[in-house]
């Protein structure tokens, strides 16, 4: 079908963009590693301490590192009008948002996923905690991408520098962190917590396209 061809075309363009800007991605991951180092040295590099609070610190730093990619989610495409052209090419704004979230998940969050076991080694985490971390991040990064999409689209509307976007990402990722970190201490309820995470991911996958598309339409009106 024609729409499938267009979806592949859009994803191919996104992949080309990410590849041409790969330094950006690597510097984000490097930022994440450096912030982990800062935390380790701030806490005194004590092995037992790191093991007990490691997962929580890793999650908080993942969150903050992901807000780095907030700015370039929609801004370039919006500024030079490509968003409008893609819309006129036959894809509704909601579809564009879903594809953007998916490509962000694929090209940005998966590299972070790969670097998680390495960070786990720095914190001397036991292997089952690393496994839990990777699994919860796999689902949680989808939620993070949805939140980043919502905040980036709200940032489009703001010509002043009030970063409402970062506030939104942090605010709604509090339940995500509660469940992802709590999963380590709740061995009996493992399945239920995973299901809860998947449920939250599905809720946000429903909310994000609608609200991001609404904000994009609003921003195009008031360019």
């Amino acid at each position: 079908m024609i729409i499938l061809k267009k979806i592949f075309l859009f994803l191919k363009r996104e992949s080309k963009l990410f590849y041409s800007n790969i330094v950006d991605l690597f510097s984000n991951i490097l930022f994440f590693f450096l912030s982990v180092f800062v935390f380790i040295f701030a806490l005194g590099a004590d092995e037992q301490l790191l093991k007990s609070i490691g997962v929580g610190i890793i999650w908080s730093l993942l969150l903050l590192s992901s807000t780095l990619s907030l700015r370039k989610f929609y801004e370039d495409d919006f500024k030079n009008g490509v968003l409008m052209i893609i819309h006129m090419g036959g894809m509704s704004y909601e579809l564009i948002v879903i594809l953007k979230i998916f490509s962000h998940f694929l090209f940005v969050q998966i590299p972070f996923l790969v670097s998680l076991p390495i960070v786990g080694i720095f914190f001397n985490l036991p292997i089952n905690e690393v496994y839990n971390l990777v699994l919860t991040f796999f689902i949680g990064s989808l939620i993070l991408s949805c939140l980043i999409s919502i905040s980036a689209s709200m940032n489009l509307l703001n010509k002043t520098n009030f970063s409402i976007g970062s506030i939104i990402v942090l605010l709604f990722s509090i339940p995500l962190i509660i469940f992802s970190v709590g999963i380590n201490s709740a061995d009996i309820h493992f399945n239920s917590l995973i299901n809860l995470l998947i449920g939250i991911a599905l809720i946000f996958l429903g909310i994000a396209p609608w609200s991001s598309a609404a904000c994009i339409r609003l921003a195009l009106k008031n360019k």
């Binding site: 363009r13 030079n80 006129m88």
Partner: protein, 202 residues
């Protein structure tokens, strides 16, 4: 085929334009003129359903465009004031993207001939950010022929173009008109095209 009926648009309760009636049929070309800030670009945005009019309807082939906007978009090419080419990708990448988006049936050879006509064929593998502003504008105008759509809507197409390119653009317009096409464009510049109708926005 394009019928605009009693269109009016207010921004923050200030009247931009009111009681605008326009009809455009095959083989017709209309230029929109006016002083800076008289609402020409706003009119294009209302026409393309980016902005909501206060009153009035726009009909394409007899149907209200709000009922099925993608039918209207499917037969329209919109060239804005900004350059919508992705600066970090090459010229060829951008062309392939536009081709696929509009399901154009142009072959690679024909694309190359087009690049040659506009004298930018040596850039086909360079990133757009290395082109000058005039050459980027020429790439943008390439979209008109790539997408093979019926209605062309352009906002200030003659900016940044050298004399040769202005002539090529005029010829392209005339060819499109003779092939049952329709063109609406906003410009300060007065091109020498016969049968040009003018809508003055003062």
């Amino acid at each position: 085929m394009l019928l605009i009926n009693n269109l009016s648009f207010f921004r923050n309760d200030i009247k931009i334009f009111e009681n605008l009636n326009l009809s455009l049929a095959n083989n017709q070309i209309i230029q929109i003129k006016g002083t800076n800030g008289s609402g020409k670009t706003t009119f294009l945005e209302v026409l393309l359903n980016i902005l909501e009019p206060k009153s009035g309807e726009i009909f394409w082939k007899g149907k209200n465009i709000k009922k099925n906007i993608f039918d209207f978009y499917n037969q329209t090419t919109f060239i804005m004031d900004q350059n919508t080419s992705t600066r970090k990708l090459t010229v060829l990448d951008n062309i392939n993207f536009w081709r696929g988006l509009s399901s154009s049936k142009l072959s690679n050879d024909e694309v190359f001939i087009l690049l040659k006509t506009l004298k930018i064929e040596k850039y086909y593998d360079t990133k757009v950010m290395y082109l000058s502003s005039g050459e980027t504008k020429k790439l943008e105008l390439l979209r008109l022929i790539l997408e093979q759509k019926k209605l062309w809507i352009l906002d200030e197409p003659y900016n940044h173009l050298d004399d040769v390119s202005i002539e090529i653009l005029n010829q392209t317009f005339i060819d499109h008109i003779n092939n049952n096409g329709m063109i609406i464009f906003v410009s300060h510049f007065n091109p020498t095209i016969s049968n040009l109708e003018i809508l003055d926005f003062n």
